[in-house]
Symmetry: C2
Subunit: 97 residues, 2 copies
């Protein structure tokens, strides 16, 4: 149930000695929401991911990648054809670039 994004956020937050409620107030949500995001029980909004990158002074791309990967994983995790589907999407993405 843990997410890559949540784990990373918690790591950043604790290393910078910030409390849930401090981060929460910057995001303008309740501390329990941030807790749930860190535990992987809630999905952050994209806007919040960007705010978190600012708060922790870290790379937006790093966080967005983890966040996006969590979402994709959530969709494909129980599917036998997950790998084929991912390959197919990669191909399509490359074409569109």
């Amino acid at each position: 149930m843990a997410t890559q994004f949540g784990d990373r956020i918690r790591e950043l937050r604790t290393k910078q000695n910030l409390l849930l409620r401090q981060v929460a107030s910057m995001l303008e949500v309740d501390a329990s929401i941030v807790s749930k995001i860190e535990l992987g029980e809630r999905k952050a909004k994209k806007e919040q991911v960007i705010q978190l990158a600012d708060i922790f002074k870290t790379s937006k791309d790093e966080l967005l990648t983890l966040w996006l990967a969590d979402q994709v994983y959530e969709i494909v995790k129980d599917e036998d054809v997950a790998d084929d589907a991912l390959k197919s999407v990669s191909k399509k993405i490359k074409k569109h670039k």
Copy 2:
């Protein structure tokens, strides 16, 4: 807006000379739903994908792959980090297998 899954379903249906309403009645939904699925305006349920494989006598895995790829694509399509996220998920999937 077109989907790989929808395109394939329409191809199968027309080649087998079935009408929307015939397929719809087998899925027990209105014909407009099937139309929308074929046009990529609605997402089929997983159960419907499996029924469609039976109806068209084609491979469930083929259809499930297209259906899953559409969903993943929908999530990552506008993201700069799409490719990195997909790679990360592939890695995680392989580990879990």
